[in-house]
């Protein structure tokens, strides 16, 4: 690989642009797509690998090519620079996620508490408008405070985020559901929210809860059944009050 090609590839990745590296295996000649225009067959193969996120060897016009997609990083947008966010932070990067923490409470959102994490101290509605969660984004609310969590959940439900999770007991969530309905979200939309957040591993400590949340996000990202939204408790069950 030419150092110049590597530099261009890294620049595109840093700018969060999808980029595909195509290598001709006979001589190592390389191209970046879509930054360079390529013959249709190569461009089509490149587009396919971005969609599947799977690198592939293909033979086109008698030439063997290795086609290697690099999608922008998956993101976890966490609202609340709280102890669970601190425990999630060191797990995010090795799992392939960029983690962004939103919290307007500047005493919480500090680089000392969250080293190596992108911090955003705007109010969640403004932060979410700027961050624009997409299908490669997970959104997790951890503050317990409706003033902070609700605007983030409202924005997340209007986005294509592949995972939405909210910390809080079933009782807290039932109240939250009522508020989100007032904002115009229907049952199907609200069913996208994983609440209580995280897989049920009887987690107690912040690192255990962080692990359960990260595991659920990975399951959702990989399409495992564990990552599918759980059915909402019925109204009847909520009305008799289930405390968690």
């Amino acid at each position: 690989m030419k150092t110049e090609t590597l530099a261009r590839l890294q620049a595109e990745r840093a700018a969060q642009n999808p980029v595909v590296l195509l290598t001709r295996l006979s001589d190592g000649a390389q191209h970046l797509w879509p930054q360079e225009s390529l013959p249709d067959a190569l461009a089509d193969a490149a587009r396919t690998t971005l969609g599947t996120e799977k690198a592939a060897s293909v033979t086109i016009d008698g030439e063997a090519w290795f086609i290697h997609p690099h999608n922008p990083p998956l993101r976890i947008i966490v609202v609340g620079a709280v102890h669970i966010a601190q425990a999630m932070a060191p797990m995010a990067a090795p799992l392939g996620f960029e983690m962004i923490v939103v919290d307007p409470r500047r005493a919480f959102a500090t680089a000392e508490r969250l080293p190596g994490v992108s911090l955003n101290t705007d109010w969640p509605d403004e932060a979410m408008a700027a961050l624009k969660p997409d299908a490669r984004s997970a959104v997790v609310t951890l503050t317990h405070d409706p003033k902070l969590d609700d605007p983030a959940l409202d924005a997340a439900l209007r986005s294509a985020a592949f995972y939405i999770g909210a910390l809080g007991s079933r009782r807290t969530h039932a109240k939250r559901v009522a508020r989100l309905k007032d904002l115009g979200h229907d049952d199907d939309a609200i069913a996208r929210i994983h609440a209580p957040v995280g897989l049920d591993i009887a987690a107690v400590t912040a690192p255990e809860i962080a692990l359960s949340v990260m595991a659920e996000i990975v399951a959702a990202r990989r399409g495992a059944a564990l990552g599918a939204p759980r059915p909402q408790p019925s109204e009847a069950r909520i009305s008799i009050g289930i405390s968690a």
Partner: protein, 110 residues
């Protein structure tokens, strides 16, 4: 926003860092697999002429042979396509005992 979370899987970033520090570097990439090969296509290993290694193309079975080929690629400036498999005598010698087959492309960073 800061993105200083260069994670351990980003072998290209490591290769770029090594190169910027004046090391000779080669990159090995799994380009094709069959059967129970341990690492998927796209897995990378960065190697320096001084013998530093980061990443993985096989979970250990063939790393030594790939590193040797990487040093050769750095010396000649030529990329190489390596083929390993249990049915392959060379692969058996280097110990791809985990089964499967794997093709690895080794290229100098020039």
């Amino acid at each position: 926003m800061t993105t200083d979370t260069t994670h351990s899987e980003d072998i290209l970033a490591i290769a770029a860092d090594w190169r910027a520090a004046g090391e000779q570097v080669a990159i090995a990439t799994v380009v094709e697999t069959w059967g129970s090969s341990p690492r998927p296509a796209g897995s990378r290993l960065a190697v320096t002429a001084s013998g530093r290694l980061m990443g993985s193309v096989s979970g250990g079975c063939i790393e030594g042979a790939v590193a040797d080929a990487a040093k050769q690629a750095m010396a000649t400036g030529q990329p190489q396509l390596l083929d390993f498999g249990v049915s392959d005598e060379r692969a058996w010698e280097v110990g791809l005992s985990c089964g499967g087959k794997v093709k690895v492309f080794v290229e100098p960073l020039a």
